[in-house]
């Protein structure tokens, strides 16, 4: 009898879940107050890359708090974020984006290029504008309704290769570079840039290896790379696999010895924490925002909020990236409100998306993002990268230290993606 009762209770519980779930979501959005600008923002806060997603999520939350409390929202209207955890599940990303469209969001962001790749089919088809904080070549080429608040992974490679050739390389002829790339949009974007620009810059690509996001050992692939005797190894990945690769390179006696560079998606405090400061000492990296030590107004404000709400994220570049992206979104919405008025945007329909894109994103000009990014945020027709500046950093004594000035990333035409 007890078992039967338990089973009955379980059945009631299960049926309740089935019944309540739709009601919760059906009731939720309608209960929200009006007179807000709704945007959708997703981060991979769970799944295989929480070391990127969680600080990214916190950066969004804190930036929105700052915007709504200190800057008066955008155009006088508070921004309401429909935040969702994508769990880095690409099928789920499609559902989330569709829900954003249904719930009246006027633009959306993803944290990663993979999420954007999964979202962009539907978004481009519907004309729903989106921005990815970390973005790959295939998200932006050919330009449609997806934008990058920063340069893409192909640009990361070009910026690093140029810096290496001009400042680090002491030999003669072409330096030999090996690449270790995360399977997916992150690695492919970097490879696209390398294949397009290696000859022009004067770099010889001697080997390309791929790794998975959950890799725990890359000794075998690094042994292959070692046999090719490269001068420099460029890693384009996320923090955890990058830490594995650098640790393995150290164990194999490859590093120090060769130079190691990392693309933006992995170059953050999490890399230092996961690998250990002594292991990653001297590793170079490319990034699209200033560092936490820069003396610009935006850093001071981000520091204030990170220490207040998420002190564990202090020094994290993912936090900075989403903070900066959220400020750019505020600027977009401010322009859109100014140019078309709140009523058009409030509808959250195709007309509102078009207004945000044409009267917000495409009107961006000279926005400095409180000094957080190099140059300014400006839309150039035919180029959906809204900012085109990158800077080289190096890990010194466990800290991410800027080297030199910002480099401008020229637009590369990728014929493989249909660029004209």
């Amino acid at each position: 009898m007890k078992t039967n009762r338990w089973l009955l209770l379980s059945a009631i519980f299960l049926v309740s879940i089935l019944a309540i779930t739709p009601l919760l979501a059906a009731c939720g959005p309608k209960a929200q107050p009006s007179q807000v600008l709704k945007i959708g923002m997703m981060t991979p806060s769970t799944g295989p890359v929480p070391e990127k997603g969680l600080p990214g999520q916190h950066g969004i939350q804190d930036a929105i708090e700052y915007i709504n409390t200190e800057l008066g929202g955008a155009g006088g209207y508070p921004i309401e974020v429909l935040w969702r955890d994508s769990a880095y599940d690409m099928a789920k990303v499609g559902t989330i984006v569709q829900n954003y469209m249904n719930e009246g969001a006027i633009l959306f962001t993803t944290h990663s290029s993979s999420e954007m790749k999964a979202a962009q089919g539907k978004a481009n088809d519907a004309g729903f504008p989106g921005l990815a904080t970390f973005i790959s070549t295939m998200n932006l080429h050919p330009p449609q309704h997806i934008y990058g608040p920063t340069p893409d992974y192909g640009d990361d490679w070009v910026a690093f290769a140029r810096y290496y050739k001009e400042n680090v390389w002491k030999g003669t002829g072409k330096p030999k570079m090996a690449m270790h790339l995360l399977s997916g949009t992150v690695g492919q974007g970097t490879l696209d840039g390398a294949q397009a620009m290696a000859d022009e810059i004067g770099i010889e690509l001697v080997d390309v290896q791929n790794h998975l996001i959950n890799t725990t050992d890359e000794t075998a692939s690094l042994t292959v790379i070692k046999s090719k005797n490269p001068d420099v190894l460029f890693i384009s990945s996320v923090p955890a696999p990058t830490a594995v690769i650098i640790k393995n390179a150290k164990d194999l006696g490859m590093y120090p010895g060769i130079t190691i560079g990392a693309a933006s998606a992995s170059f953050t405090k999490a890399l230092v924490d996961l690998a250990g400061a002594d292991v990653v000492e001297g590793v170079y990296g490319v990034f699209h925002t200033v560092s936490w030590d820069d003396d610009v107004p935006g850093v001071a404000k981000a520091k204030e909020y990170v220490m207040k709400n998420h002190p564990e994220d202090y020094g994290n570049m993912d936090y900075f990236s989403t903070w900066s992206t959220t400020l750019i979104i505020r600027e977009i919405l401010e322009l859109a409100v100014k140019n078309v008025g709140y009523d058009v945007l409030a509808k959250g329909d195709a007309a509102a998306w078009k207004a945000v894109e044409e009267q917000g994103i495409q009107k961006l000009k000279g926005y400095t993002v409180e000094g957080l990014q190099g140059g300014t945020v400006t839309y150039t027709p035919g180029d959906n990268r809204l900012n085109k500046f990158l800077r080289i950093y190096q890990i010194q004594d466990g800290k991410i230290v800027a080297l030199g000035d910002w480099q401008e990333a020229p637009l590369i035409k990728y014929a493989a993606y249909g660029d004209q």
């Binding site: 078992t3 338990w6 089973l7 379980s10 059945a11 299960l14 879940i17 089935l18 309540i20 779930t21 739709p22 919760l24 979501a25 059906a26 939720g28 959005p29 806060s45 769970t46 929480p50 969680l54 999520q57 916190h58 935040w83 969702r84 955890d85 769990a87 599940d89 690409m90 099928a91 789920k92 499609g94 559902t95 989330i96 569709q98 829900n99 249904n102 719930e103 993979s114 790749k117 999964a118 979202a119 962009q120 089919g121 539907k122 481009n124 088809d125 295939m138 399977s183 997916g184 949009t185 690695g187 492919q188 791929n210 998420h310 564990e312």
Partner: protein, 349 residues
């Protein structure tokens, strides 16, 4: 066929009928009416419902393979990937009409499934599970590295499904497409389970040696089960590709293959209703956690950041453990018990 008290079958046709009484037909009519009217009253939920529909088709195939024939497969997401890419390539590169591509996707996934099903003739249980995991890894590796055909790591952009001039671009139109194919799949699976082939599957599952002694060809029926199970997966993959409008290997992780097994355990293996209930249950838990995470994180600011990250896998794992311990025959069995008691009500004893 469970019939209400006092109802008897007097002909073979009555005995074989899926819908036997007037009440059955009325309930079926109401259900179909509700399903077809859903876009009118649950529009905001269509993306979730569409995903549930596609998953039901895939898991129905796995249920035929694992639930009916007893061949455990942990590579089902890989077979869905085969269908998705087959359909996408046929439509994008060769201009094949979507309905043809849909069927080809099923056929090709079925053939690939048969290839990976060959080890089932020698191994079973745990060992077969390991060999089907290989299918998952091999298929995904090929997709990622055969760049000229699949787009490699970049994936592929895919056109919306279309039949003649009708393009299934809106959610509602995609819903009707998925709904109709889901209904056909469920009807096919229901009938298959009652045919000679279906009974042979059950015999192989229950005791393959005894089945062979009775004259059932293990070679033929095990491979048939792999073909049919993977055909369903291929069809689901095709629908996924043409409704997502973009695919990459990331859409087909190993965790999905494991989750599909969890769905048929929770729903009830070897039943037609089981996969449907299992898929709805797991997908809604997933949605529930996604929707509630922001609110939970705001409600409990003192808990560590991202504490909600463990909720979904915890609930999945807990549900599977509880069902295996307390209700190994799944939700479908609970439903049967409920119907049985309802049929006898108020004279249940």
């Amino acid at each position: 066929m469970d019939l209400p008290a006092g109802t008897r079958n007097y002909s073979y046709a009555q005995d074989m009928a899926i819908f036997r009484t007037k009440t059955h037909w009325i309930l079926l009519g109401v259900l179909i009416l509700l399903l077809f009217a859903m876009p009118a009253y649950w529009h905001d939920w269509l993306s979730v419902v569409n995903r549930i529909g596609i998953t039901i088709i895939a898991v129905m195939g796995l249920n035929i393979l694992t639930g009916y024939c007893g061949q455990l497969s942990i590579g089902h997401a890989g077979f869905i990937a085969v269908g998705a890419y087959t359909s996408a390539i046929l439509v994008q590169r060769f201009g094949v009409p979507f309905p043809v591509a849909l069927i080809c996707a099923g056929l090709f996934a079925g053939v690939v499934g048969m290839l990976f099903g060959v080890p089932s003739l020698r191994v079973k249980g745990f060992y077969l599970a390991i060999s089907t995991i290989a299918a998952q890894f091999i298929i995904i590796w090929v997709i990622q590295h055969w760049t000229s055909v699949t787009g490699g790591f970049s994936g592929m952009d895919v056109k919306a499904a279309s039949i003649g001039p009708m393009v299934f671009r809106s959610q509602a139109s995609q819903y009707y497409l998925i709904l109709i194919i889901t209904i056909i799949s469920v009807y096919f699976a229901k009938n298959l389970s009652r045919t000679r082939v279906g009974r042979a599957f059950i015999a192989v599952r229950d005791n393959d040696l005894a089945a062979e002694v009775m004259g059932i060809s293990l070679f033929r029926y095990k491979l048939t089960a792999f073909f049919i199970g993977c055909f369903f997966a291929g069809v689901a993959g095709s629908l996924l590709a043409h409704t997502s409008l973009s695919i990459s290997a990331d859409y087909f992780p190993l965790t999905d293959s494991i989750l599909f097994i969890g769905m048929i355990i929770i729903g009830g293996m070897g039943t037609i209703l089981g996969p449907i209930l299992g898929v709805i249950f797991i997908r809604l838990i997933d949605v529930l956690v996604t929707e509630l995470s922001p609110a939970l994180q705001n409600a409990f600011p003192n808990l560590p950041s991202g504490f909600t990250s463990g909720i979904a896998p915890l609930l999945f794992g807990l549900a599977i453990i509880l069902f295996i311990i307390f209700e190994p025959r799944g939700l479908a069995h609970r439903w049967q018990l409920f119907k049985a008691s309802y049929r006898l009500w108020p004279f249940s004893y």
